[in-house]
Every structure is written in structure tokens, then in C-alpha cells.
Amino acid sequence: MTDPERPGSMKPWLHGRKPGDRRMRVDRPHAQYFRYSGPGTLIAREAASMPRTPTGRLIESMRHILFGRRLSNYEEIDERLSKKKALAIFSSDAISSSAYATEEILRVLVVAGAGALLLSMPIAIAIALLLAVVSTSYRQIGYVYPSGGGAYAVARANLPGIFALIAAGSLLVDYIMTVAVSTTSAVEQVISAVPDLNDWRVLIGVIAVLLIMVGNMRGLRESGNIFAIPTYLFVFSALLMIVIGIAKVLNGEGTPPAGVAASTTDLWNVAGMVLVLRAFAGGSVALTGTEAIANGVPAFKPPEPRNAAATLTAMAILLAVLFIGITFVADSFGIVAIDLPVPKTVISQVASIAFGGNSVVFYLFQAFTALILFLAANTSYNAFPRLGAILARDGFMPRQFSFRGDRLAFTSGIVVLSVVAIALIVIFGGDTHALIPLYSVGVFISFSISQSGMVRHWLRERGGRWRTKLLINGFGMVLTAVVAVVVFVAKAPTSLLIALIIPLLVLMMLFIHRQYSASAAHLKVRDDIVIAPPHREERVIVPVPGITRAVVQAINVGRSIAPDVRAVLISDEPEESAQIRERWERQIPDVPLVIVESPYRALVGPMIAYLDVLNQTWPENKEQAVTFVVIPEYVARNWWERVLYNQSANRLRAALIGRPHTVVVNVPYRREDDDMVSEPSSS
């Protein structure tokens, strides 16, 4: 049916129920791909991002299966966490370190003999006191930086830029190490329960990291209850284990190590100062992850800083109780880590004593421990990509790090984190103890820098009770700096790697920043000028192999750019080129054809040389003309056809990239169905 008011119109119109009622549906061609959000502003729908080719659609469907459907920015979850939930989600990294911190102390002390193992308790208490100082200092950061007070943010706000970069480098290393150490430790917990899996430890670790990576690429969120459950399962079962262990000790079941020294002085003599410091450095790994709550203040329910501070205190108390409790029971039963014939972690031996080695509860506890450790690895997948994105926005990392993928995840950061963590697991043979020396150095450097930033903040801002706050952060700064040095020295020579990696990262970030700053300065347009129309003259060069439909289309495009159009034929066949000239002058008489004979059969070189000559012959008193090189291209229908076409065009295009005063224009000619192709216009 056609519109009678407009004869010839093909728009369908519709009759209503009553005579004279007519209406017409209006097409909305944009609606499939876009949505108007305001005048002149469109929002792209999911369909606009979908591939159009069959191959692209196939890849997309595979991505869909692996990573899930694309999410829009509006689907981002902005959930606020209660204290209970936040404690579970943010503390998994810190609390899970109690699974291997005791072991790191005992591994060092056992070298000095069984008697030295008794020093593990004083060392654990010293580390718990350090934890108290660090968490008290971080409570203040949460109040001052409610938008998230990572070491980088605090340093950037208060200290010279280089300190912020050192903090950032330390944190990046810390996050990578968290993934590697937590994963290997989780695998060791599994092996302690199922020793037959020992030969597959590296493979299991790699697969675990890949699974966590895929989960995060799918946009895994930490806010779900599923992430809170493993933490509480571990915490409650570990507390139960400690209570049973202590009860057994009180019941006289403990078997303290043979040759126990009589007094503390004797113990010091047995172990030696260096060994004690090394044990302290090993155990200080328990503090890793303490800063997570201060980083995540915005995720708390209001009043955010107060809730975060309360959660941080609860986390510190829990961690201290677990750490000291596990150490006490291990100490009382003379437990040390066993590596051969199959590894048995200290915590698994404590669980074995408390629950019984073959009981269901023991296996459950090992599963809970492995779960919280995998969860701790997952926390880095939130922090590392986010820090990478912040650094990218500040111009210190490649911009790809700030781009979010189809599932709202910072894909580049996730991939880089996974690749480096997997490399570490493979290089260190999936051995947690071998990885630990690389771990805590970076953590204490970032602690120390953030505390320094806070000291500077109090000195500058002052405010109520600033002297007390300054004292707390100042004490934290000195203590963490001393511990950083102790850990660095005690864990040498492995820790020397960190002394190399962090400066390299800082140099890399400075280099990237300099590159971006230079390009930004180069590309900057003053905002006080009105952009005038172009004043440089333009000419068009069309490299042609002969007369084809693709060439005719490219010539027509060239004509639309500038009046000065010339075709250039590079030929090594003089007879053939003479025939082409005869035909050219007959069919395209208004566009001059320049034939360049190439007796050495080169194509790109003579074309570049011809363009050079054109530039050189341009009058010196005039600004150099812009040369548009319009390259005709034939679009192959199938991917396998592509190798047959456009090879010369590709080489020429590659040679012209970056050439001054030159713009390369590709004019693709798409093969249509034969009956749809009309002959080029004879005019």
C-alpha cells in the first residue's frame, strides 16, 4: 500500500478502525546499533560492537563461551560491603598468610637445631607487634584517604614523584608475588593431603592461575557471598584447630623438640643473631595484604572510614591470633616443614595433630586452607589491574592497561599478572619457600613509603591531634623501613632480584611517561586559536598497475581530493607499458600517466624515489605540498584469497608509513555480484 498523499512514495501506511484514521510507521535505522541519549549524542548498543564477518562471529561465539557475554558500563556493580563481608573479602590475603608464615620461621630456625625452634614464639610475637603498629598506621590512612589510600596514592599526594613510582613498582611486584606464593602454597596444602599429586604441582599451579585468570576475564566480582565463605570457613576451622591443639598441649600431649635450651640467652647463643633476623624476615610475610582494607575504603558502607578502621583492627587481631596460635601449637609439638619424600606443610601437620591425620575434618581443613589461598591469589586480580589502570591514566604505563574489556575487566593487567605469575611458578618449581624471599621486601618498601607520605601529610595539614597521628605514622615509617632493610639483607641473595626489578620498573614507568609527555606536547592544540582551513597545496599520486575497476575507483577518489592527480605506472615491460599508455590516454585523458621504467624490476624503490623527486622540484619559496598517495586495493572475498592480492600495495604502504608530507589513502574495491556491477562512467 502506498501513501495517497504522496504518489509514488513506497512508505507503507496503515488504516485505523475509523475512516480517515491513518498512521505510518517511521523507520529507525539507527535503532539496531545506536540509542539517542541527547541531541547529537548516540550510545552504541551491543550489536554495534559485534563482528560482521563469519570468522569474526565464530571467534565472538567462542569468546562468549569462554568469557561470557559483553557487559556495558552501566552494568558495573557498585555494591557497598558490610564489615562482616568486607572482613572476609579484603582479609583473605592477609589471613591466608598465616598458612605459611609460621613455616617460614621454622624453616630458618631448624638450621640451628631443634632447640632453636623454641625461638619461633618470641619471633611470632614480635611480628604480631609489628602487625599492630602497621595496622594502626593504616587505620589513619583510611580516615585521610577515604577514596582509597594505596601506597601509590598516598605517595603521589605527599611525596616527590619518584617515591610514588617506587611504591607503585613495589606494589606491582607484591601483587604478582601474592598470586605466585598463594597459588603454590595452596597447591602444597592439597599435596599435603594428597601426596600422589606432588609430581604435578607446577602443572596444578599453572592451571589454577589460568582458571583464576579466566574467571577474572569473565568479570569475576569479589563482592559475592561466594568469596566470603572460604575465608570464614578457614578462620573458624583454624581457630578450632588451635583450640584443640592448645587443649592437647595442656593435656600433656605436646612433644617439645629435643635439646631445649634452658634460657633465652642460651637460645640466642644456639641460633645466633643473623639466624633470628632471618627467621623474623621469613615470618614477616604474615603482614602481606594488611594494606588491602585501606585501599578498599570506598567499598565499605557509610561511614566508610570508621567501618574500614574497625574491620582493619578485627583483621589484625584475627591474623595475630591465628599466627601466634599456629606457631604455638607447632612449637609445642616440635613440628617442622617436611620436604621429602613429599612435602608436608607445617599447618597441615598441626591440623593432622588436632583433627587426626586421616579424618574427614583434616581433609576439609586442607581444602579450606587451599581455598582461602586461591582466594588470596584472586585479590591481586582486583588490585594489580586497577593499579595498572591508575598508572596508565597517569601516563606511567601503556594506555592498554586502562582499557576495560568486554566484561568490564582490565584485561591487559589480568593477562600480564597471570603470565608473570605463571612464569615465576614454573621457574621456582612451584616451591613456596623459594618464592618467599622475593615477596615481603616489596611489601615493606610500600608500607614504609605510605607511612612517610602520611608523616608529610600531618606535617603539612596538621589538624586535630596531629602530633599523636604524626607519632603513630612516624613510628610505623621507621619500623617498616628498618624491617624492609632487615628483610632485604636477611633474604639476600634472592632479594637482590627485587633490588633490580623495582628500579627497572621505575625506569620503565619514567620512560613511558616521558614518551607520552613528549607526544602530548607535540600533539597539543592551543585552546585560544581558531583552526583555519588548510592552506597547503595538495596533489594526488595514484600508483597503477594498468586500467582496472579498482584503479578507476582510486582515480575518482583522487579527483575528489585535489585537482592535481597523476597516475604512476612502475613497469619493467616497455611494450606493455606503451600499450597501457595508449589505452590510458584514450580512456582517462584528463589524468596524466607517468610511466617509470624499472629495469631492475623493483617497484617500491622507484615509487619512493619518484615521490622524493616531486618534493625536490617543489618551489622552495612555497610550503611543501601534501602528497596523497591513493592506493587501489582489491578486497578478497575469502580470507584465503588475501594472500593472492595486494602484496605490492601492502609493501608500498609499509614503505610510506611515517614519510613526511605524505598521506596514504587506501581505496578498497569490493567485488560485487557480476549483475550488480556497472561499467565505470564513460564521462
Binding site: H15, G16, R17, M24, V26, Y74
Partner: protein
């Protein structure tokens, strides 16, 4: 859908680009959510007699498309599929009813704006009465909330004149002015 409330299969949402559109779409989404009913947002461009009905009123079309697009945006937040139907007609009301019949809608939802001028009143206009009288399906009108500054304090019942004691608006009541003929 709760007991006593009908479960709609397809709802036609009449949008006019005004402040009630959001109300209408939100109401439609809330009704559709439990039953998975289909939503069709209808916006009619009224073509006056200086134009032909088939004229492409492109400027109006961008604004008109925006009306439907914004409705789709609201529906997306509810994770409900809403399709937009843009029409050109001489009369909005008849086009709306005819379209609702054609798409098989079992309910039409319209918005009733509140005008603040002259002490404030609901602007019923001609569309709502026409739809009430001619729609073969149920009709729901979502009224725009009365601004708090325009609400007059109701005196105690014993001091009120008899005609307004039941709480009806003074003068001709809304019920008197618009009468639905739903099934």
C-alpha cells in the same frame, strides 16, 4: 502477578516525550517483570495539515527516537526487552489505539501530567478520554505526582463542605472527567 491482578502479556506504553514518560515506562516494567510480559513503547509524531503524512520530519524524528531510546534505556535497567514503535499520524489518540490493537496489546499505559499553572491541575487533554472510550483493552493512567507545594492541607471533615468531604478534588472530579472502558 499477585492474586486479583491480571497478568499482562503485552503492554503498549504511550509516550509523549514529557515528564510522565519515565513513570509510564517504570510502571510498565514493574508490571512486566514478574510475568515476562512484552513491552512496546509507542510514540506518535503528530503531523499537522501543512505537511503530508509521509513527510520525513527528520528533526522531529531525532527527538522522537530519543523518546523511545530513553524508554529502552529504562527497560534495560530492569533487564526487560522493550521495543520502540515510532508513528506519524494526524491524531495521536486514534493512532495509539489502532497500533495497540494491531500489536495485540492487552493493556495501554498512559501518563497524566500535572500542570502547575492556575493553581495546578491534571491536564487530561483529548488523548486519555479517547483511549478510554475506544481501547478494547485495559487502560492504566499513571499520574504525575503533585508537587508538595501544590498540595493544600485538607481541613477536618466536619468543617468541609459536603461535596468535598469524601476527599475528591474540588470541582469536577477526575473520575467524572475521564472514564475508562476496559474489559
Amino acid at each position: 502477578m499477585g492474586e486479583g491482578k491480571p497478568a499482562y502479556r503485552k503492554a503498549a506504553l504511550a509516550l509523549n516525550g514529557g515528564p510522565t514518560d519515565e513513570l509510564v515506562v517504570n510502571l510498565g516494567c514493574q508490571l512486566a517483570k514478574p510475568t515476562g510480559a512484552e513491552l512496546v513503547a509507542i510514540h506518535v509524531i503528530e503531523v499537522d495539515w501543512s505537511h503530508e503524512l509521509s513527510d520525513e520530519l527528520s528533526q522531529e524524528n531525532e527527538a522522537a527516537s530519543a523518546v523511545l531510546d530513553q524508554a529502552e534505556g529504562i527497560a534495560e535497567r530492569y533487564r526487560i526487552k522493550l521495543t520502540g514503535d515510532l508513528l506519524q499520524a494526524r491524531e495521536v489518540a486514534s493512532a495509539l489505539v489502532d497500533e495497540a490493537i494491531e500489536i495485540g496489546a492487552d493493556v495501554i499505559i498512559l501518563g497524566l501530567p500535572y500542570r502547575k499553572r492556575f493553581g495546578g491541575d491534571f491536564a487530561v487533554g483529548g488523548t486519555i478520554p479517547y483511549v478510554f472510550q475506544n481501547a478494547p483493552c485495559e487502560v492504566i493512567v499513571a499520574r504525575e505526582p503533585i508537587p508538595t507545594t501544590n498540595i493544600t492541607t485538607i481541613p477536618p471533615a466536619e468543617k468541609m463542605p459536603a461535596s468535598t468531604a469524601a476527599g475528591a478534588p474540588r470541582g469536577r472530579s477526575l473520575r467524572d472527567r475521564v472514564r475508562g472502558n476496559g474489559r
